[in-house]
Amino acid sequence: GSKAPANDGATAGASSEAKADGDDATEATADFKVAMVTDYGDITDQSFNQSTYEACQTFCNENKIDFTYYKPEGDSTAERVAMIDKAVADGYNVVVMPGYAFAEAITETAETYPEVKFVALDVSEFDLEGETSDFNNETYPNVFSAVYQEELPGYMAGYAAVKMGFTKLGFLGGMAVPAVIRYGYGFVQGADAAAKETGASVELNYAYGNQFYGDADITAAMDTWYQGGTEVVFACGGGIFTSAAEAAAKVDGKVIGVDVDQAATIDGQYGKGITVTSAMKGLKATVNTLLSAIRDGQWDDYAGKISNLGIVSGEDTSLNYVGLPEDTTVWNDTFTKDDYLKLVADLASGAIKVSNDSEAEKPSADNVKINFQGNIK
């Protein structure tokens, strides 16, 4: 990665009128337009596209900023680049892109449009720079990327589940994409650690649905799990929770949500108390922060950086980008809110280390018996 450029470059290029006034932040505010380009999924994937879209839209509505989104014709870099080109051609100068798949598209366009601000989510430095990456958390001067440490909330969820007394767990991933893999790997590590502490014999069914939505096939597999004794399933990927919740509701099983606090959504539809907790990451917060920064003329604080967003504070959990929902998690005697706070503190202090190997599509553990089933569909 290279060093971020001087201030003026980023803001001034947005509009020819603004150029004269240089660094007047309020002036620049009126002149930025936000475009989002979706990943392979649509903005209704109940996952990162949707969260990003909703965050952008809320922000732009509140601030009366032009906002639109583009959906590439297909699942390829060429088509993603086409949409970025189109957005810029249409006069949008802030482009928000969720998903690691945008890495190459960014490589192809960032230098072409130095005046456009690129906000990427989930795109890691490795994704951008490949084998030659220097891992200095810097990248193109007009790009900001946020990468979440999904393994952390995954870990918390796994740890919590075992601590809560569940011994038969399930992990149902969407597609095996990096974020999902990290969640899953964290989940396994968390369960493993808790099993070691409690000495319980823990079993874990592990599978990917190969899609981000539920259907009869996946529900059948979930029925098999739940009716075979599985007590709680971490439904990790977009709308795939529908299958897990459907099956759970039949036998009084439990579900762990993902990305956002899904308790309201899932419990609202399938019955109170089904969701024991959710492994969250702060997509919306990031989008909000970044767009606010751009509005307030503080883009330079972020430009050219790649942030690994995870735990910021061991004390004030509200500052963290990842975590479990403190209000809706079903705390019990064996795992209280205080236990959770201690866990966060340990993670923050480095007392507990979580590996984030996103190649661990098929994780293993010492104290948990993993029954790996690959892709269901």
Binding site: E73, S76, D85, N210, E359
Partner: protein, 378 residues
């Protein structure tokens, strides 16, 4: 003077009576009516932006203000039109032999799998990858042909089954060359640049669009070749005879079983090459977790029929279908679902069903007029 008038009238009629002209008129009519229905749908969804939206779809890459960008994205449309054309030709070739090759989708998948595997795992140069795609697609075709010729299995059904089998097999095989942290196969350009189809300077014509390769002219040349084979060669004569009159073909000593298998081999090979034409440009990476068969093969059906079941017509039809599909991605998504362009192409394809009737109608009108004219002379 009246003789003069009669002559021009007759000329006009004879132009209209030409099957090729009728096909073109019919296809154009389908397109116009299809767009019109699409426009109505847009009006229903949101009347305000409908006109602009339909224009956006039609304009496709012309929506870019700069000429360079427009050229670049014209290139992209062509890049995707080439494999579509190949799939369409696959279906058409088999259709001439009386076979409905719905398995083109699976043969396309096989071609993609083979070409990528050879390129990424075995490090072969592009021409060998192309051959591999040809063979893989062809073999999938042969499977259908064999089942049809020797075991009387309906080709539509075996084709559909093989589509799925192909998909899962290719997903399994390509898992060995996927990126470590994503379900996509590794980048072709970075892994094995020799496997990228050469451009021979073509990309310069399209603002250095790196995906523009010889695949585009090759696809057109293959279409012309197919036209020649079907209409001018002994093989074409046999294929068509087998297609329309299997028993007569057998009676005259044609090996109808061999012809069925050979036809499907060629059909499969065409679809397989089609996949290579896309994947060997690096335009797209294969996602090994995809759980539905790529639509290219099915869209080929559309292109074939819109092209009036003629290879040359299919060149234009493939381009057109790709043109409006790409155009759809430039719609204002806040107002209109992007599926509206799929909707329009589906309507156009549906309307193609009426082409036969349209031609019949036209011909009987021409005939009636002629009769009347002759009657008047008497």
């Amino acid at each position: 003077m009246s003789a003069q008038v009669n002559k021009t009238m007759a000329e006009k009629e004879s132009i209209l009576a030409k099957p090729a002209v009728q096909s073109i008129i019919a296809s154009l009519l389908c397109i116009v009516v299809g767009l019109f229905i699409g426009y109505i749908a847009l009006l229903l969804i949101n009347a305000e932006g409908a006109t602009e939206a339909i224009i956006t779809i039609i304009k496709n890459y012309f929506t870019y203000p700069s000429k360079a960008a427009a050229l670049k994205y014209c290139g992209n449309t062509l890049v995707k039109a080439a494999p579509l054309l190949m799939c369409a030709l696959s279906i058409q070739f088999c259709y001439q032999a009386g076979l409905f090759n719905i398995g083109a989708a699976g043969q396309y998948v096989a071609g993609a799998g083979a070409s990528l595997f050879c390129a990424l795992k075995l490090g072969m140069p592009w021409y060998l990858c192309l051959v591999a795609a040809l063979i893989a697609g062809g073999l999938f075709g042969v499977a259908v042909g064999f089942l049809k010729a020797y075991l009387n299995v309906n080709e539509v059904i075996s084709g559909i089954m093989l589509n799925w089998i192909g998909l899962y097999t290719v997903n399994m095989i390509l898992s060995s060359v996927k990126e470590s942290a994503s379900p996509y196969t590794v980048s072709l350009e970075k892994t094995n640049a020799a496997a990228v189809l050469p451009s021979l300077g073509l990309q310069k014509l399209f603002s250095n669009n790196k995906y523009v390769t010889i695949a585009i002219p090759l696809a057109v040349i293959i279409a012309i070749l197919i036209k020649v084979v079907l209409s001018m060669t002994v093989f074409g004569y046999e294929i068509k005879a087998t297609g329309i009159a299997k028993d007569a073909a057998k009676y005259s000593g044609m090996k109808e079983k061999r012809n069925i298998i050979l036809t499907l081999f060629i059909g499969g090979a065409l679809a397989g090459i089609g996949a290579a034409f896309l994947f060997l440009t690096g335009y797209e990476q294969w996602s090994v977790t995809q759980s539905s068969v790529p639509g290219m093969g099915f869209n080929g059906i559309a292109a074939t029929f819109l092209g009036g079941l003629d290879p040359i017509g299919t060149i234009f039809a493939s381009y057109f279908i790709q043109h409006i599909t790409s155009g759809g991605s430039y719609l204002d998504k806040n107002v209109y679902p992007s599926q509206i362009s799929d909707f329009i192409s589906a309507i156009i394809i549906y309307l193609c069903g009426f082409v036969l009737f349209f031609k019949f109608f036209l011909n009987s009108r021409i005939k009636n007029k002629k009769n009347n004219a002759e009657g008047g002379n008497k």
